[in-house]
């Protein structure tokens, strides 16, 4: 059955050593388009390290990662992001001094083209549809005249790509903030947001880069059961929007409830792979989490 589906991400015999420590030992697994894959394992099993290899933070000692049939090992983090991999961080890493919406806009910027010259001189003009023209709505005569001038010039010369991209970015960021449920906090600084909202903001920021694959690193850490349930629904919603999701999570109920398949790591090695039901009954997984019983040893 899985063979008929399209492989989006292929982790191919990845080994990563830090000196004498083997962080990942010959790990291989595939991720199919449109599924939610869980990556679980005890603390220190190498889950986050695996994320770091996939997003270009670490280079594997041997083996490689294919994304969309293209090799991504050795590429820089921003190039990998451009190819369609986005992630959140286990220890939240927002831009604390930027407002929530600015954080998300950094994500939308990754799909925009305006750079220094475009922002400085704004000469690259784009024709706009009538509904996007500046509006004339002031009751003050002077301001109204000014607005009319702006509207007419926009009609004739179009608007700069910078302006259009800024607007599109703002609009999309607001939509994403609404999706994760923190639209009302758009203008608050990220550092002032409550913990749960910071986690949600990270997801919005990652989605803003228009990824094909969204990697969530323990998004439910520190959540209460009600929040976990909300997150569960959010992840499903994101999957239904067409994203593929890779989820690292400790909370077994969440993982078992939301994922299609699960890969289990222990001490940098893959010890099991399968559907949640298979994983639940897998003796190796039970041993990894609970320790082996005396008579089995």
């Amino acid at each position: 059955m899985p063979d008929e589906r399209e492989v989006l991400l292929d982790v191919d015999h990845v080994t990563l050593r830090f000196g004498g420590v083997v962080a990942l030992n010959d790990v291989s697994f595939s991720l199919y388009k449109g599924e939610i894959l869980g990556l679980i394992g005890p603390n220190g099993a190498g889950k986050t390290t695996c994320f770091n290899v996939m997003t270009g933070v670490y280079k594997p000692t041997s083996g490689g990662v294919l994304f969309d049939d293209k090799k991504i090992t050795g590429k820089k983090p921003h190039e990998i992001n451009r190819m369609g991999v986005a992630r959140t961080f286990q220890n939240i890493r927002l831009f604390p001094e930027m407002s929530a919406i600015e954080n998300v806009m950094v994500g939308t910027d990754s799909r925009h083209y305006t750079s220094v010259l475009g922002a400085l001189f704004r000469l690259y003009r784009v024709k706009v549809k009538p509904e996007e023209l500046p509006r004339v709505n002031s009751s003050n005569g002077l301001v109204r005249t000014w607005q009319q001038v702006a509207r007419t010039s926009a009609k004739i010369f179009g608007l700069s790509r910078h302006t259009l991209e800024e607007r599109a970015g703002e609009r999309k960021s607001l939509e994403l903030l609404r999706l994760v449920g923190i639209e009302h906090r758009a203008n608050e600084l990220a550092r002032n947001l409550p913990y749960g909202d910071q986690r949600r903001l990270e997801i919005a920021r990652a989605l803003a880069t228009e990824p094909k694959l969204l990697c969530l690193d323990e998004p439910a850490a520190g959540f209460n059961p009600a929040e976990k349930e909300q997150l569960n629904q959010l992840i499903r919603k994101i999957r239904d929007m067409g994203y593929t999701v890779l989820l690292i999570e400790h909370d077994m109920r969440l993982v078992m409830g939301v994922t299609d398949r699960i890969v289990v790591l222990e001490f940098g090695k893959k010890i099991a792979e399968g559907t949640p039901a298979e994983i639940r009954d897998n003796p190796k997984v039970i041993a990894a989490y609970l320790g082996e019983s005396a008579d089995a040893a």
């Binding site: 997003t55 890493r93 831009f95 001094e97 930027m98 950094v106 990754s110 750079s115 910078h162």
Partner: protein, 383 residues
């Protein structure tokens, strides 16, 4: 923690500034526009102002003369430098201790290509059989100066922007010195330690016929520099409020997270460096055309430190702050020339006091002030 409050010894001052700032931001847009225009008009009027305590500045070049407009011109050039360095230090968060290098390159660009006495112009005259008064026009020297400074910024940045923090500071400090020493030692094209004279202004090489941009009256020079400063403020503001400004901020706050979110940190740091270098070159250009004569020792490392001090004392990350720092550090030494022997002592003491009492600068960007506070708390927790 709720809204940031400024605790500490200068809390009265900072709360006053914060109050003024908040009230200013609370005004409607058109009122702010009118306020800004009035301020600009005042700036243009400044050289004609005659407040005795403020504007009487002794000069040694004219007997009993007053150099108020000349000092204003220096202030404007320093503001331009501060704005450029603010892009590098305040916006992109890169500590550049060799900024004088770009200043020198801009100054030497107009000297080498614009002065009839420069070895390069002389050899061009010989080669192409040109008249002895031929040199490249002042206006064409502007893009040359900016381009040369920018290129040197890119050449310096390419290998060094991979370094972080203190390492970058050390490399740039070396760069500033290298530029000065290379200029001093290459007699065959830079004039060497003797310097280059008769550097042109907008009306050509210095002569008694230059009625507007002459050596005596500095007012037109000040107005020229002020106009350039205003143009630069306008352009840098555009950058700040765009994708570029956001990327700089993101890289400054968390470079790795920014990279994973699709920001190419190297590219945007490079742009910050190049823009900073271009503005440094432009200010060097203005400085040299007003001076009419430059020599390598005017561009020593002290000046780099002074430039960084302007940004840091004023408040890095905030253009108004950096400009205020520049004006203070350019004006005060001139005002207290009479105590010239103790000038730098007082200057140093003032710097130390500012760093102790208000480390975020006199007029900091709100964001930078909070970042600095976080660092202090981290250190306090770590200790």
């Amino acid at each position: 923690m709720t809204e940031t409050t400024n605790e500490g010894r200068l809390s009265g001052v900072s709360n006053f500034f914060a109050g003024v700032g908040n009230r200013w931001r609370g005004l409607p847009k058109w009122q702010r526009g009118i306020g800004f225009l009035a301020f600009v008009a005042f700036l243009y009027y400044l050289p004609l102002l005659g407040v005795p305590g403020l504007t009487w500045l002794r000069t040694d070049s004219i007997e009993g003369g007053n150099n108020w407009a000349g000092v204003l011109f220096t202030c404007a050039v320093y503001v331009l430098i501060a704005l450029g360095l603010n892009v590098v230090i305040g916006l992109a968060g890169l500590l550049d201790l060799g900024y004088v290098g770009f200043f020198a390159i801009g100054a030497y660009a107009v000297a080498i290509f614009g002065s009839t006495q420069s070895p390069v112009v002389k050899s061009l005259q010989d080669k192409f059989d040109l008249a002895p008064e031929w040199a490249i026009t002042w206006a064409i020297c502007i893009p040359i100066a900016i381009a040369l400074a920018m290129i040197s910024g890119v050449i310096l940045g390419w290998p060094t922007l991979r370094l972080r923090g203190d390492y970058l500071a050390i490399v740039t400090l070396g760069f500033g010195e290298i530029i000065r020493i290379v200029i001093r030692n290459s007699t065959n094209w830079s004039g060497g330690p003797a310097g280059i004279a008769s550097i042109p202004g907008p009306q050509g090489a210095p002569s008694a016929d230059n009625h507007i941009f002459g050596l005596i009256d500095a007012k037109p020079w000040y107005w020229l520099a002020l106009s350039i400063v205003l143009l630069v403020v306008f352009l840098v503001r555009r950058l700040e409020n765009s994708r570029v400004g956001r990327s700089w901020l993101a890289v400054r706050e968390d470079e790795d997270a920014a990279a994973v979110m699709g920001v190419n940190p190297f590219k945007f740091k490079m742009w910050a460096f190049a823009i900073g270098a271009a503005l440094g070159g432009l200010s060097g250009f203005l400085f040299a055309s007003r001076q009419g004569f430059i020599e390598p020792n005017q561009f020593n490392a002290n000046l780099s430190i002074l430039f960084v001090a302007m940004v840091v004392v004023g408040g890095s990350g905030n253009m108004a702050g950096a400009a205020l720092g520049a004006v203070l550090l350019a004006y005060l030494p001139e005002r207290f020339r009479d105590f010239s022997e103790y000038r730098f002592l007082v200057f140093g003491l003032a710097l130390v006091l500012v760093m102790l009492l208000r480390p975020q600068g006199l007029l900091p960007s709100k964001r930078r002030a909070r970042e600095l506070k976080d660092r202090q708390e981290e250190v306090a927790v770590g200790a």
